[in-house]
Every structure is written in C-alpha cells, then in structure tokens.
C-alpha cells in the first residue's frame, strides 16, 4: 500500500521535472522546483513509514526550511532583474 503511494509521488516529481524542461519562462521553472520541494516532504514521510527509519521526519522538516529559503532567493532574483526568454 505504502509502496504504491511512494511510487505515485515519485512519478509526480517526474511530472515536475517535465515542467522544468518544458517551461517557457524562468518563473515556470521556479514554480516547478517549489512544488518539487513540497513533494519531497511527502516522499520522506512515506519512506520513513516503509523503512521504519523515523529520523527521516527531521530530514523533511529541514527540507521544508531549505526549500523555502531557496524559493525566496530565486523570487528576489526575479524581482530585481528583467528577464527575457
């Protein structure tokens, strides 16, 4: 049961990478990376249940914070510069 959900979430992160490759503008790619950062939290939770290594929840919390800082930095970069692509 948990295995199937884990594979579904992994497939969804490949959909996010598809948007990273396709995305017409820089902002589309950033949105896809942001979504990928949230999906990884779910993957961490399912991995923790599957393998019974519960420290992966700490990894999930750290991932939330790091992905937040990364997204804020990229958004700041978008705000300052004119990007044409």
């Amino acid at each position: 049961m948990i295995d199937i959900l884990l594979y579904i979430l992994m497939g969804l992160s490949f959909l996010c990478f598809l948007r990273v490759i396709m995305g017409p503008s820089v902002a589309d790619r950033m949105v896809a990376i942001d979504i990928f950062g949230i999906l990884v939290v779910g993957i961490c939770v399912f991995l923790a249940i599957k393998t019974q290594r519960l420290f992966l929840i700490d990894v999930a919390i750290a991932w939330i914070l790091i992905s937040f800082i990364g997204t804020i930095t990229l958004a700041k970069y978008l705000t300052r510069k004119k990007l044409d692509e």
């Binding site: 959900l5 579904i8 979430l9 948007r19 979504i35 999906l39 939290v41 399912f46 804020i72 705000t79």
Partner: protein, 107 residues
C-alpha cells in the same frame, strides 16, 4: 497501521496528483501557482496529519504536527514571493485575463 491514516495518505496523494496535473495543464504561471500551492500543500499536510494519527503523541507524531504549520506558512509566503516576482519581471498574464488592477501600481 490504522484505517484513518491510510485514508489520509490516499487523499493526500490524490491532491498531490491534482496539483501536478494542474501544473502541466493550466495556461500561464499565475494559474499554475494557484493549483500548485493549494492542492500540493494541503495534500502534503494531509499526509503529515496521517503520520500524526498513526504514531500518536510520540516524538515522530509531534514532529509531524509541528511540520504542518511550518509547511503552511513557508509555502504560502513562497507562492506570494514567486507571483510578485514574476509580475515585476514582466511576464505577461494569459490572453483571456479579464481584469488587471495591479497594472496602475507598476508604471
């Protein structure tokens, strides 16, 4: 494993699926953010709530419970920063957008 947490996991994965489909289907970056923030954040919050119900008031359960408001605040602020940044960078709205009151602030 109890059945409530299984249901919460399945609901969470389904909302993640809707969010990613929206990421692929919707026409421009603003609408993509709409589907992305709401569906994916609530889906992941539902998965974390399922973990809390499964483990109860142990170390893992409490950590999952703390992660929910953390994820909620960080993802909303990140979505807000991204949408403002992409407007300021001059990325156009979709052709069929009906109103834009924000334009007069950005002369």
């Amino acid at each position: 494993m109890n059945s409530i947490s299984i249901i919460l996991y399945i609901v969470g994965a389904a909302f993640d699926l809707f969010g990613c489909l929206g990421l692929l289907r919707l026409p421009d970056v603003y609408n993509r953010l709409q589907s992305a923030t709401k569906s994916v954040t609530l889906g992941t919050c539902s998965i974390l709530l399922g973990l809390f119900i499964q483990y109860g008031f142990s170390a893992t359960g409490i950590k999952a419970l703390i992660a929910i408001p953390l994820l909620f605040f960080t993802s909303t602020v990140a979505a807000h920063a991204l949408i403002r940044g992409s407007y300021k960078a001059g990325i156009d709205l979709w052709d069929k957008t009906v109103v834009d009151h924000y334009k007069e602030q950005n002369k």
